[in-house]
Symmetry: C2
Subunit: 336 residues, 2 copies
């Protein structure tokens, strides 16, 4: 088996980021950390898909503005979402006039974008790029489950798709006051744990998270306590419980340093989100609204960011297939 | 505006490739060049989506076998398709146990995979990777238009989605008998030409092709006659005509060296495909079944491969949006 960890040779930094969200995200524990909250969830558009697209536009715009930089300075945009044919990204970022590479990793898209962006900058071919990802509760519900107007009952293991987008600027070279450095990345291998319940994505994704995490620990000869935080994307309550238990059985006790974006973005019981948040926007907004600030301030030194994605579709489920999942890892280090 | 062409610094080669197709592709002019033709279009599976997934599995398997190499030697897989949430790739390549990065560029996916693969190998982090893309007439028809059983009439500008998959192995370093070298790449910028007719993808994609092509000529100070072939992915008859005309108006007369995979894969009138072939599988199978062999044999020296993609969805069209498109360029050179 070939080594999966890639250590970046050059200084690759996240230099700016932004998070936009909807009402529920605004009412959650991180609400005040978002750059923009749209209480209507519509972002000024008349369809949910276009609302999601607009959220990507806005997130990137905020990230660029914070860095006092224009889109023309970007070499490439890496973006993805959950909407069929990733139209949240293609329509949302259409006005930027920047080379565009569409990516698809379901809810792992945020990590895939940072991983690819990191490697592309490390190659020397690009100096500045942006990675954007999003999800929207309403566009996801009607595509993957039922239109919300149906009022279908949600089982306890179900998660609540985050309405929101996160954007990140990545730069290489001598940059002033970066948020964090990307030092290592590890691309995931798709795992099929045999779960076919679309209301239990946490269980479907936990095996992929375990595989990537154990591989990272072994290849880097590191241990959970080497990190201030091991941050999963949207395993939620159920998936986090499974990951912690399986990891512990393999000799890596992560409970003390693990948290999950899906558990951080909402007050789970009070906000009625059952097992927690999910969606491409979940990991992207938590990382950009909260975690990168902690790294910049020096309150955290090393964060292992691992977003997981369930690579199924509504059709594949109807056809009786189980849900494959993937987990990409990006190791972030503070520069203070 | 930043320079978009990226010249690869290292020797990055396509060392193996394979094409699998369905009945119509087998009956076309390139039928004998395919590695495998399934006359049932089913690839042994019971749903069209799973048939497409299996075609990806087979194409990669053929490409690996030709190189006498196993999947374990691969650092990463880059793959995408047109099915909602790219399940053709995630399910099709699930058994390979190789790090997986999902990409989405609609029908430009083949070029996006080669472009990203080339850059990732050039970074030095990866030594060997594979890029796979596919489409299937039946999975595409029922998703984007109507189930074929409806028998809807097709207008003259409509194209026929190719049933097939193409796989490419990319390697760096000293490799024996490669097919071609990837010397330059240019990522596309999404263009919106204002077309909203899903039966005229050629017209929707031509502006993107024009933008990337002109940028390539200008930045590299090259001209059409520097290439044995300028090969577009699936502009078809209509889109090719538009591209040639617009390009000529800009001072670049490409008619003598231009061809389109969508015009090569079928006998357009005899096989009743109207404006030609389309889909991720179109560019991927024509490049792998025919063009790379010509480069290897020395019958062509320089090929500018540019696959275009229409980044819309069935929903975006229903919501009245026009069709944005993108074109990624990969410059291929023979090593003989």
């Amino acid at each position: 088996m070939k080594k999966r960890i890639k250590k970046l040779k050059n200084q690759v930094y996240i230099t700016s980021c932004a998070a936009v969200g909807g009402r529920k995200e605004g009412e959650g524990p991180l609400g005040a950390c978002f750059d923009y909250i749209d209480r209507s969830d519509r972002f000024g558009k008349s369809t949910w898909e276009q609302s999601e697209a607009e959220s990507q536009f806005m997130a990137l715009n905020f990230a660029l503005n914070k860095r006092k930089c224009t889109a023309m300075e970007l070499d490439v945009l890496l973006a993805g979402d959950l909407i069929n044919q990733c139209t949240g990204s293609s329509y949302g970022l259409l006005d930027y006039d920047v080379p565009f590479l569409g990516i698809y990793g379901a809810c792992s898209t945020c990590a895939e974008g940072l991983l690819l962006g990191g490697l592309l900058l490390d190659s020397g071919h690009f100096k500045k790029c942006a990675s954007v990802s999003s999800s929207h509760f309403c566009s996801a519900e009607r595509q993957f489950r039922s239109p919300i107007e149906y009022g279908g009952q949600r089982p306890p293991t179900s998660q609540w798709t985050v309405t929101g987008a996160g954007a990140f600027l990545l730069e290489t070279g001598c940059v002033e006051a970066p948020l964090a450095r990307i030092t290592q990345v590890l691309p995931g291998i798709t795992q099929n744990g045999g779960i076919n319940d679309p209301s239990n994505m946490g269980a479907a994704m936990a095996p992929a998270a375990l595989d990537s995490l154990l591989t990272f620990f072994k290849e880097s000869q590191s241990k959970p306590s080497d990190f201030d935080l091991i941050l999963t994307g949207d395993l939620g309550y159920e998936g986090s419980r499974i990951l912690r238990e399986l990891s512990s059985k393999e000799g890596y006790f992560i409970d003390d340093v693990h948290n999950d974006c899906g558990l951080m973005i909402y007050e789970r019981k009070k906000q009625g989100v059952h097992a927690g948040g999910s969606g491409c926007g979940c990991a992207a907004t938590v990382l950009s609204s909260k975690i990168l600030g902690e790294l910049k301030q020096g309150r955290m030194k090393r964060v292992l960011f691992m977003a997981t994605g369930a690579l199924m579709s509504a059709d594949s489920l109807k056809q009786g297939l189980t849900i494959p999942a993937i987990a990409h890892i990006v190791c972030l280090e503070g520069v203070k």
